[in-house]
Amino acid sequence: MDILINIVTSFIAAAGFGIIFNAPKEALWKCGLVGMLGWMAYFVLTFQGIGEVPATIAAAFMIAVISQAFSRVYKAPIIIYIVSGIIPLVPGGTAYNAMRSFVTNDYNMALSFAAKAFMVSGSIAMGIVLSEVISQIMKQSRLKRIG
């Protein structure tokens, strides 16, 4: 049941971000799909007890790979798909907790939350880099253009 709720809400949330960012209408369901698959990867991995950082790397990697496939197939810039997919992974909650601990003078908690938010942001970057590296290796003859 929990999984079902997450599947539906992550799809709607990612598609909603597509609308906020003014993505083309026919791309909205693809935005939703990318966001849903990425979030499900993250959700299932953390549910299995895998840490947030590796789970985020895996999810971001997956999002970037699917986005690349979409951008190749539909001949559109990769950014449309990658942005709505990445949004759920952005450590908004952790950053909020860090800020909240700071203002309530709980610096120990604040620093550990902040470090975690930083690590998770880094993992998102790492996941994207990994997929970019693979795609560059795959088409080494046309190194100039990424995505």
Partner: protein, 258 residues
């Protein structure tokens, strides 16, 4: 070369340059990655027969030069307002593809790009606010909130997003509109919890703040840095940090009041 031909030739060069710069300007203003902007401009120039062109793109301006038989021509344009409009990025991208296929001559391409530049947004403001509201509710559920908080998070998220849009129209300081939006979100969430309409303050705030989070900036900053555009990457990173800081301090004000 006759003088008239020469003038005609120079005119054409300027046209190509204008097409390239217009394409770059639209893309940069709509939130495309720096290397994509450079790539698109140089591709368009190449497809119109300019062998050498150089571009230097930062989030706040574009410098572009083309090397012809005449002395190299360079133009600079300033970018002051940046929004996110992925539809325009797609449209310019497909125009660039059509140019590459040889379907469009210079004046045609210029007209098409002008139209894209003026094109109004695909979704009305109401639709976008509604989308932000629904996304906020969904984020609440993704972060293990309870259904009881779904409606409050939706309303607060929508109002927060509307605040950003409206205040940004009044005051052109991004930091301020984001701070005010976070303040509105914080106050409303606290109000909802105090009156018993909502249950978990933290979850409601996190869900409603998500439409304000600089996700596009972070992704773009990373992708620019990877592609070796350090100035763009760092300045977009700084912009993302400022936004996050604005949201954080808006919420912090409310938390300290509680």
């Amino acid at each position: 070369m006759e003088i008239e031909d020469m003038e005609q030739y120079l005119e054409e060069q300027y046209d190509i340059m204008d097409v390239c710069l217009l394409a770059g300007k639209i893309m940069l203003e709509s939130g495309a990655e720096t290397y994509r902007v450079e790539d698109t401009m140089m591709r368009i120039a190449k497809n119109y027969g300019i062998k050498e062109s150089h571009s230097y793109v930062t989030p706040t301006g574009i410098m572009f030069s083309i090397e012809t038989e005449e002395p190299t021509k360079t133009k600079l344009i300033r970018i002051s307002d940046r929004t996110t409009d992925l539809n325009k990025v797609v449209l310019v991208n497909s125009t660039s593809r059509r140019i590459a296929n040889g379907e469009l001559d210079v004046p045609q391409a210029y007209r098409i790009l002008k139209r894209i530049d003026k094109d109004d947004e695909t979704y009305s403001l109401g639709t976008r606010i509604a989308a932000a509201a629904i996304a906020s509710g969904c984020f609440l559920m993704m972060f293990q909130g309870s259904w009881a908080d779904f409606i409050p998070a939706m309303i607060i998220g929508g109002l927060g997003f509307a605040t950003v849009v409206y205040i940004h129209d009044l005051v052109l300081i991004k930091f301020f509109s984001e701070f005010m939006a976070a303040l509105v979100v914080g106050l409303l969430a606290a109000g909802a919890v105090l009156t018993g309409l909502g249950q978990e303050l933290d979850k409601i705030i996190i869900g409603s703040v998500m439409p304000l989070v600089p996700g596009l900036l972070i992704t773009n900053a990373v992708r620019d840095l990877i592609a070796g555009h350090f100035i763009s990457g760092l300045s977009k990173g700084a912009e993302a940090f400022l936004t996050a800081f604005a949201i954080g301090s808006g919420i912090a004000v409310v938390v300290t009041l509680l």
